[in-house]
Amino acid sequence: MLAPNAAYRWLAGALTRSPAAYRAFTATERAAKGAAFGCRMCGQCTLPVTGYACPETCPKKLRNGPCGGVGADGSCEVFPDTRCVWVVAHERAQREGRVADLLLFQRPVDQRRAGRSAWVSYWSGEDEDLWAPAAGTGAAPAPQARRPARKAMK
């Protein structure tokens, strides 16, 4: 639904040029994804490959799979009343036949992008190396300096 196309790319470009529009758009994104997924606005969204279970809601912010402390009933070790994000992600991936998605290597979060619109970044093509095939993990690390944060829009 949100896959980049010409219209979205145009929208991303327009939003990037207008700080006020960018702010309004980002607020909408925050509200929508916050309600739907508990989004924390890390600005680099993995939801499409984590069964729409947000790894930022994991108390350890684990992007590459569950920790070893998951309860036998699938509960989170830190907040036992909640289910482990990765148990949820795995259930959904199994249901959709997309377990291979969970094996992708998720690169470290770029803290500079916190609070920015992940949708705009995605449509602008900035998210292309967020993840990599696990087998190629060591071969092609993306130097972090390659993706400098754009000027903060105030």
Partner: protein, 316 residues
């Protein structure tokens, strides 16, 4: 490259034994030196934990140097809980510079379980990302940022995995992911349920992970019923089958430690028969002095290992 005796041992195909020492809560090196001396000659290397359970202890790098001083090769544990990517990388470089030949990279327990539950949980990287960063430093001679290193580290890189935790059916794949990121050996969570461990190992073999990543089954003993209860309820991710529980409760109080050691030795003998298992990692928190007895009972004779010195390990 000089360096890891553990790498050589794992490469030789001989059954490998590692153990674990928690550094002291304090600045006195004596306790750690004594624990290390008790294990010298019995194990191929010893893990030095990194604020295990999110409880403050002497740093694992210092504990590792002390273990080496006591003549036992250290495996420095490094968690992602307390340091961001700058500190993690600089600590790893420091470890190699000081002659620590093995590192074990893990996410770490959440601060909420420890003695400073209000601490900031860092988790800037996760364990898989840290493994990848370490391998990038070692094999490409550069930092995560891409900047070149002068002098590459050469550690043996290890990881941990819990074969028993949900999501069922994903734990072997998760190890495969760690192996792809850079893990050359793995130590597992406590194995008390050998059948479940065997099923996980079958998945591991199906994925071919045991070909690139040596597998050490985590085993251990408890000293008392109180320790058993703590492990059942207070340590995330440890699963103790009812049968083990029953056996420990069936003996008189004074014999619990002995029965636990017997169970541990039996488990060592059983996991040893599972294809793809390269060795065991023995954990007995607060009961390290009991480890030689367990190994002896399991038929793992004392090695005539020469004491290693820091100078001997340093690679230039």
């Amino acid at each position: 490259m000089s360096g890891s005796g553990l790498r050589a041992r794992l490469g030789s195909g001989s059954f490998t034994v590692t153990a674990e020492i928690g550094p002291p809560r304090g600045a006195d090196p004596g306790a750690l030196l004594r624990k290390a001396e008790q294990l010298r000659g019995w194990v191929d290397a010893v893990n030095i934990t990194d604020n295990a359970g999110a409880n403050v202890r002497m740093a694992s790098w210092a504990g590792s140097l002390l273990a080496a001083q006591a003549g036992i090769e250290p495996v420095m544990q490094v968690t992602c809980r307390d340091r961001n990517r700058l500190a993690l990388q600089s600590d790893l470089l420091a470890a190699w510079a000081m002659g620590i030949p093995n590192v074990l990279l893990m996410t770490g327990d959440h601060p909420r379980f420890g003695d400073h539950p209000g601490a900031e949980p860092v988790f800037d990287l996760d364990s898989v990302q840290l493994l990848w960063a370490a391998r990038t430093m070692r094999e490409e001679g550069r930092l995560m940022s891409g900047r070149a290193l002068t002098g590459s580290p050469g550690w043996l890189i290890g990881a941990v995995e819990n074969p028993f935790a949900p999501p069922a059916g994903f734990r072997a794949a998760r190890l495969a992911k760690k192996a792809a990121a850079g893990a050359e050996f793995v130590q597992t969570q406590f194995v008390f349920d050998v059948a479940a461990f065997g099923r996980w190992m079958a998945e591991v073999r199906d994925l071919g992970v045991d070909q690139t990543c040596r597998i050490l089954a985590g085993v251990g003993a408890v000293r008392s019923l109180r320790a058993l209860d703590h492990m059942r309820t207070g340590v995330p991710g440890v699963y103790i089958p009812d049968e083990v529980d029953r056996r420990l409760r069936a003996v008189p109080d004074g014999q619990v430690a002995d029965e636990a050691a017997r169970i541990c030795a039996e488990i060592i003998e059983q996991v040893r028969e599972i294809p793809g298992v390269s060795g065991v990692h023995v954990m007995a928190p607060g009961y390290e002095h009991g480890i030689p007895g367990i190994l002896e009972r399991a038929g793992l004779a004392q090695r005539a290992a020469p004491a290693r010195t820091l100078g001997g390990q340093r690679a230039h």
